[in-house]
């Protein structure tokens, strides 16, 4: 059966688009018919399955400095050629180029509802910024890896262009997009888990079904020198909020944090406060919220002069299925306020 050729528009920067080097990095978007530069290799990999009908090129600096305009213009140029799928890059570890490819992916996906395939080195900032808008084939960190990149990109572009099912990141070679997909297995979970454990105990290789996210590290700050003069704040992920939950912090996947005044408050009680957290039995926290946020003890220590001052606001969110990205964002906002208020140390409680 003859299959229709997939129509592809290819996005490139000024360098790969053969306009010029860094000195041409400020050229605005333009379109050319057919394939250019890496597009020729892409075309070769596509064979009879697809056709690079046009190439849209923009200078990396121009794109970076005119992000919204450039994105809109590139999307407009791409749309003229009515592609089934858009290929951007590969950008390897080039930050500006990767970011531009990602922004193009976002624009194409949101405006044209067409899938995008790109190729980047995993640490390219474009991956973290725009990874969810494109299937990004994992590449080496320089253009030397072009040949290895183009094959999987072409293959995936054909599948997406035809609306065929896309395999797992391992099968297709793209960087995991953080999307969980339900699949049927011939063996049930308990057996798979035990098999995996046995392999682990034997020191044999195994593949987890649920890779843990990678966390970065922050070096510890110097200790508090003079506790008796220090202003200390309480922060909690345990969801302690004033009775009635005035900010309507969600019981899971919290979309916000709250900031609450405890000036003059010596004790949290079931009358004044409660938990909004949906990930643990709330009975004990609702009975006595100090069990999660120790305001009573902190107040005593303040009175006794053990600490200088309990900060008059405490901050709370619900750490229950809350994404790392959101938690990071809330804590950045909280930390900025705490710094501004001259808070010298924080006790953060988690349930």
């Amino acid at each position: 059966m003859e299959k229709k050729k997939v129509r592809i528009v290819h996005y490139l920067n000024q360098f790969f688009g053969q306009i010029g080097g860094e000195e041409k990095a400020d050229v605005p978007p333009m379109a050319k018919e057919g394939a250019v530069g890496p597009g020729l290799a892409l075309q070769q990999a596509l064979g009879q399955e697809g056709e690079v009908v046009a190439t849209v090129i923009c200078g990396d600096t121009y794109f970076a400095e005119h992000l919204e305009e450039a994105k809109a213009e590139v999307v407009r140029l791409i749309a003229q050629y009515d592609p089934d799928v858009v290929v951007a890059g590969p950008a390897f570890n080039a930050g500006r180029y990767g970011t531009a490819c990602g922004a193009v992916a976002q624009g194409v996906w949101e405006t044209l509802k067409k899938p995008v395939v790109s190729g980047m080195y995993p640490e390219n900032p474009g991956v973290e910024l725009y990874g969810r808008y494109a299937y990004i084939i994992k590449t080496g960190n320089s253009a030397g890896a072009m040949r290895q990149a183009v094959g999987p990109m072409a293959q995936l572009a054909v599948k997406l262009g035809r609306g065929e099912a896309v395999g797992s990141p391992e099968e297709e070679g793209y960087i995991p997009r953080g999307i969980r997909k339900n699949v049927f297995c011939s063996e049930r979970g308990s057996k798979r888990a035990v098999d995996m454990l046995v392999r682990k105990l034997r020191g044999e290789p195994f593949t987890t079904e649920y890779p843990m996210p990678v966390f970065d590290r922050v070096p510890p700050n110097p200790a508090v020198k003079d506790l008796a003069r220090a202003k200390i704040a309480l922060v909690t992920s345990g969801g302690i909020v004033p009775k009635g939950n005035p900010d309507k912090i969600e019981s899971s996947s919290a979309s916000k944090f709250g900031k609450y005044d405890i000036a003059g408050l010596a004790d949290l009680t079931g009358e004044t406060h409660q938990t909004a957290h949906g990930g643990y039995d709330p009975v004990y926290a609702n009975e006595d919220p100090d069990r999660v946020l120790p305001v009573d003890v902190m107040r005593e220590l303040e009175k006794e002069g053990v600490i200088g001052e309990l900060h008059r606001f405490y901050y709370a969110t619900v750490g229950n299925g809350t994404s790392v990205a959101n938690a990071r964002r809330y804590a950045q906002a909280i930390a900025a306020e705490l710094k501004q208020d001259g808070v010298q140390a924080v006790i953060l409680t988690s349930t």
Binding site: R217, P222, A223, V235, Y280, V297, A331
Partner: protein
């Protein structure tokens, strides 16, 4: 959250029940707590005793804040 507060330059102690999670997310000063639904309390104790328990935990947290650390440290005692 602990890490972002630390990153902002404010020393922070994480009082939490699931220490491995705290270690994974990158808290530097960790004080193990009592239990998930009542990290700083124990409803099985009499009210006064429970408050003493909480006070001991908070004092331990304050000690952690006053202790110089080079790496992730669990203040178990």
């Amino acid at each position: 959250m602990v890490k972002e507060i630390e990153r902002a330059g404010i020393p922070v102690v994480h009082v939490c029940t699931i220490v491995p999670i705290s270690l994974t997310v990158g808290a530097n000063r960790i004080v193990p707590a009592v239990a998930i639904p009542h990290p700083l309390g124990n409803p099985a104790l009499a009210r006064e005793e429970e408050k003493n328990l909480r006070r001991r935990l908070v004092m331990k947290a304050l000690r952690a804040l006053q202790t110089e650390v080079e790496e992730q440290t669990v203040f178990a005692n």
